[in-house]
Amino acid sequence: MYEVFFQKFRDKVSLTKEEEGLIKQFLTPKKLRKKQYLLQDGDVCKHIAFVEKGALKAYTVDESGTEHIVQFALEGWTISDLYSFLTGEPATYNIDAVEDSELILISKAAHEELLQQLPKYETYIRLQITGAYIALQKRLTSIISLPLEERYKHFTTTYPDIAQRVPQHMIASYMGLTPETLSRIRSRIFSRK
């Protein structure tokens, strides 16, 4: 239930059995089935979700009802509307399950308690957020500076798991393209192989 969570944690910061036990007290195990929401926009984001198994996506919905995906999260990743989580303001993102998923949720109260009680948790969170920030920088750089075909290649080589597991229309949404445009890019790339 917590295997991936603690494995990822120990990749960044070592933990004693006692510290692991302390952290466990604050974690909420939660199952989410495919297409179910973890969060809908307008609600306050009350948890950071760590994906133990499965896949989630965070997205906005525009006035025409089109989804714009800002992030995917597979095993070992975290996902939330961080702004809403930290400020208590209503969320602007929706988060739902792309596959049946098993999550570890950390509530605001649990998060703050862990930050106080365990400096190693603070280190873990700092490294986690730093990693997410770098990923976001890379994604932004790719969007503003690379031609479409390069962007797609960059995405599939950086995240081969997502490219394999997630339907094409979601990848198109993540890249800011229509499914038709993505399809044309893909056929251009594959015809050259």
């Binding site: 604050f26 909420t28 195990p29």
Partner: protein, 220 residues
């Protein structure tokens, strides 16, 4: 709130469990039913679906699976069964709201089996130390769920717990179920609430209230 909450009703085939499940399925909730007998759980499921075809309800065969998927767990089992269920769901109920509805009545309905310095809710909190136990729905009879307005007055339903956010969430559930919620205090107040239901049961037997009765606080 826009996001649907998932509520596991453990003991969903009993009188209380089935009525709680039915009323909560009318709100923005996904309700998971667990009962020891699968056929009975299916019957409760069909009954809910028949009265409300858009209800998001499902019967599950394992209390731990239902609780794992849930945001909120309602233990609608007799006091005597709480320990066994608590052991089964302990790990997946971590940090979650667990609602204690039980009244620890003795066999003759003339006293409680718990010591005066504790309550069923506080004992459940000891069994589930990392869960947020909240007392609710213990002063309402099963029949009250179909008729929460008795003699022209909406029955009160008391909520007690130590975690403020959890108490607020349960207060909303009490409203959804059709009752007037009153936050009574911290979990210790469960001792009084459980005794209140003992009195109501005794009065019900004495004056033949026919199991349709409730509490109403009169105030200005």
């Amino acid at each position: 709130m826009n996001t649907k909450q998932t509520i596991a009703v453990i003991g969903a085939t009993g009188n209380m469990g089935s009525n709680i499940a039915k009323n909560l399925s009318r709100g923005n909730n996904r309700v998971l039913l667990f009962g020891n007998e699968k056929e009975k759980a299916e019957a409760v499921l069909n009954d809910i679906k028949n009265s409300n075809s858009s209800a998001d309800v499902e019967a599950l065969e394992c209390p731990a699976d239902a609780s794992w998927e849930a945001d909120i767990i309602i233990l609608a089992v007799p006091y005597q069964a709480e320990r066994e269920i608590a052991e089964k769901i302990k790990e997946v109920a971590n940090q979650k709201i667990v609602i204690s509805i039980a009244n620890p009545l003795n066999e003759n309905y003339d006293g409680l089996v718990t010591a005066p310095d504790t309550s069923a809710a506080e004992q459940l909190q000891k069994l589930l130390p990392n869960s947020k136990v909240v007392k609710a729905f213990n002063t309402t009879f099963a029949a009250d769920f179909a008729t929460p307005v008795i003699d022209g007055k909406q029955a009160d339903a008391f909520v007690a717990g130590n975690d403020e956010e959890a108490v607020n969430t349960v207060t909303e559930l009490v409203k959804t179920a059709g009752f007037n919620p009153i936050v009574a205090g911290d979990l210790k107040v469960s001792r009084t609430l459980e005794n209140m239901q003992l009195l109501l049961i005794q009065l019900g037997i004495k004056y033949n209230y026919n199991w349709l009765a409730g509490w109403k606080i009169l105030h200005n």
